[in-house]
C-alpha cells in the first residue's frame, strides 16, 4: 500500500509496510496513483509531460519497487501474545478536583463514584504490584493522575520516595509523570517536579476566553488567570520535559489560534487535542465539523513550519513523528497497551485497563489491596491488537496510529476492534502534517 498526499507545497509518498517516505514531483505522484491501472499517457494530467519524462519517472519508481522500499507487501507479523508483563501505571491519586471542566470524562474527578484521595497504603501496594508484574522490563512509568493530583500531593511525594528507595535493589528505573491543572502549583511543588518528574503536563486550553468558558472552579469562575500565572512561573523554572496540553471543542474549532497563542505566551511544548464526547453534548465535535477541523490543521501546520525556523520554535505534539527512528513493529501493533502492559489504579485500589475505564465495574481487573488480578480481560486486550481490526489493517495510517484508542472504540462503537471513525480522519490528517514537517526539516 502506498499513500500519497500533499502538504506544505510538496507531494509525498509513504510506503505503508516499510515506512519509507519520499518527496516527489507531481508527475511521479500521478504515476503512483495510477500504479495498478491501465493509463493512457497521452491524456489528462499526463499529456503535460514528454514520453522521456514519463519513462524516467517510471524507471525511478521501478528502482525503488525492486529495492523493496516502495509498494512493499505486508510481511508476516509476530503473533500477538499476552505475556503478563505490566510496564506502565496510571495512579489515580485523587478522585477529587478543584475544577469542574465541562468536558471532563472523570465527571469533576469523581469518575461517577465517591470523591476520595488515594491513601499511601494503596499507592505503595500499587508500586509493589507494578514491580511484581514488570518482569525483565527496567523502565517503569507511573503517571500521577486525577481528578487533580495536587490535592493529594503528600501521597504523591511519599509514593515517589518509596519507589526511589527500592528501585535500585529491584533493578528498575521509575519514570514519574504528572498531569495537573496548575491551579495549586507553587514554587515548592515546581522544585519537587524538577527533581522527580520526568514529564509534567499542565492543562490549559489556550486563549483566556476559550479556557474560561469550559474550565471553571467549583464556584463557577474561570480558572485561566491562576493556571496561566503558575504555568508561566513553572516554565521559567522547569528542568526537563513538560507539555501544555489543552482540549479543543465545538466552541473553538479555530484551535490553531489557541496553539499559537500558547506559543506566543512563551511555551514551546504544546498539545491541543480534540474533545471526545457523545454527539448530544454541547461541546461535542461532530462528523460535519471534520472538513473545518482538517482545514484548521492545514492552517496550523503552515505557521508551525515557519515558526520552527525562528526563535518561536515549538513542538506541537500531534505534528511530531520520528520518520527515521520510530518504534519497532511490535510497538506499532500493540499501541497504548491498555489493559495489557498499562493499567490504572483507582484511589480504592481497584485496577482497570486504563484511566478511561476507572469506575466501570465491568472492566475491573482486580484490587492491589486485596492482591487480586484476573488476567481474562488483559489477555483479551493483548490479543486484540492492530491486526485484529479490519478497518485499521486497510488504513495507511495504521503503523502510526496503532488502531486508535481502545476505550473510545469500546465506549463509542461497542467493540474494541471497531475504530472510532470520528477521530480517524483527524488522526490521518495530523500524521500527514507530521510526516511532512519531519521530512522537510531533515532533508539534506
Amino acid at each position: 500500500m502506498i499513500h500519497t498526499f500533499d502538504c506544505l507545497g510538496h507531494s509525498f509518498l509513504l510506503d505503508v509496510e516499510s515506512g519509507s517516505v519520499f518527496i516527489v514531483d507531481s508527475l511521479t505522484k500521478a504515476l503512483v496513483e495510477n500504479l495498478n491501472s491501465p493509463v493512457d499517457y497521452s491524456r489528462g494530467e499526463f499529456s503535460r509531460y514528454t514520453t522521456e519524462e514519463i519513462e524516467e519517472a517510471k524507471s525511478e519508481l521501478d528502482e525503488l519497487i525492486k529495492e523493496g522500499v516502495l509498494d512493499s507487501a505486508e510481511p508476516e507479523h509476530k503473533k500477538a501474545e499476552y505475556n503478563g508483563v505490566i510496564k506502565a501505571m496510571c495512579l489515580n491519586i485523587s478522585h477529587m478536583c478543584n475544577l469542574r471542566c465541562e468536558y471532563c470524562f472523570a465527571d469533576g474527578g469523581s469518575y461517577s463514584g465517591k470523591m476520595m484521595n488515594m491513601s499511601y497504603e494503596v499507592a505503595k501496594k500499587a508500586i509493589d504490584f507494578l514491580i511484581e508484574k514488570s518482569g525483565h522490563r527496567r523502565n517503569l512509568e507511573v503517571d500521577f493522575f486525577g481528578g487533580e493530583p495536587l490535592l493529594n500531593l503528600d501521597v504523591v511525594k511519599q509514593t515517589v520516595a518509596y519507589a526511589r528507595s527500592i528501585e535500585k535493589e529491584k533493578n528498575k528505573n521509575f519514570r514519574f509523570t504528572i498531569t495537573t491543572n496548575a491551579v495549586l502549583l507553587d514554587d515548592e511543588t515546581i522544585d519537587f517536579f524538577n527533581e522527580e518528574m520526568y514529564n509534567v503536563v499542565l492543562s490549559i486550553d489556550g486563549r483566556k476566553e476559550v479556557h474560561n468558558c469550559v474550565r471553571k472552579t467549583a464556584t463557577g469562575e474561570g480558572s485561566y488567570d491562576l493556571a496561566m500565572q503558575n504555568a508561566l512561573k513553572f516554565k521559567q523554572k522547569r528542568v526537563g520535559q513538560y507539555y501544555i496540553r489543552g482540549t479543543y471543542t465545538a466552541l473553538n474549532k479555530d484551535f490553531s489560534k489557541d496553539v499559537l497563542y500558547l506559543n506566543d505566551c512563551g511555551f514551546d511544548q504544546i498539545s491541543i487535542e480534540p474533545v471526545v464526547l457523545p454527539d448530544t453534548h454541547r461541546l461535542a465535535l461532530k462528523k460535519s465539523d471534520i472538513p473545518e477541523l482538517i482545514a484548521e490543521y492545514e492552517t496550523l501546520v503552515k505557521e508551525y513550519f515557519e515558526r520552527r525556523k525562528t526563535d518561536k520554535w515549538f513542538n506541537f505534539f500531534h505534528f511530531m513523528i520520528d520518520v527515521y527512528h520510530g518504534p519497532c513493529e511490535t510497538k506499532r501493533l500493540v499501541g497504548c497497551g491498555a489493559g495489557n502492559e498499562y493499567v490504572a489504579v483507582a484511589p480504592n485500589g481497584d485496577i482497570f485497563p486504563c484511566h478511561q475505564f476507572d469506575g466501570d465495574g465491568n472492566y475491573k481487573l482486580g484490587n492491589v489491596l486485596e492482591g487480586t488480578f484476573d488476567t481474562t480481560l488483559p489477555e483479551h486486550f493483548a490479543k486484540n491488537n492492530l491486526l485484529c481490526k479490519e478497518d485499521c489493517r486497510k488504513c495507511w495510517a495504521k503503523y502510526y496510529c496503532s488502531g486508535g484508542c481502545a476505550a473510545n472504540a469500546i465506549h463509542y462503537c461497542g467493540d474494541i476492534n471497531k475504530p472510532y471513525k470520528m477521530t480517524c480522519e483527524l488522526m490521518r490528517k495530523r500524521i500527514e502534517c507530521a510526516i511532512a514537517v519531519n521530512s522537510l526539516e531533515n532533508l539534506k
Partner: protein
C-alpha cells in the same frame, strides 16, 4: 534521482531483537503525557545513537 527525493527508507524495524518494550507507553487520549506511537522513538536506537553503537 530526478523525480524522487528519498527521505527515509524501510524505517519500520522488524529485527528479531525488537519488541523489548522499554519505550514509553503511548496513550492517545487528550489528557495524557503522550499520544500516537508514531511520535515515539525506539529506546534501543536512542541508546545506540547516544552511545554511537550501531550494531545490534
Amino acid at each position: 534521482m530526478k523525480h524522487i527525493k528519498v527521505v527515509a527508507k524501510s524505517t519500520i524495524c522488524r529485527d528479531k531483537h525488537t519488541g523489548c518494550g522499554e519505550c514509553q507507553s503511548s496513550c492517545q487520549s487528550a489528557c495524557k503525557t503522550s499520544c500516537t506511537v508514531g511520535n515515539q522513538s525506539c529506546e534501543q536506537q536512542k541508546i545506540n545513537r547516544n552511545e554511537k553503537v550501531d550494531e545490534r
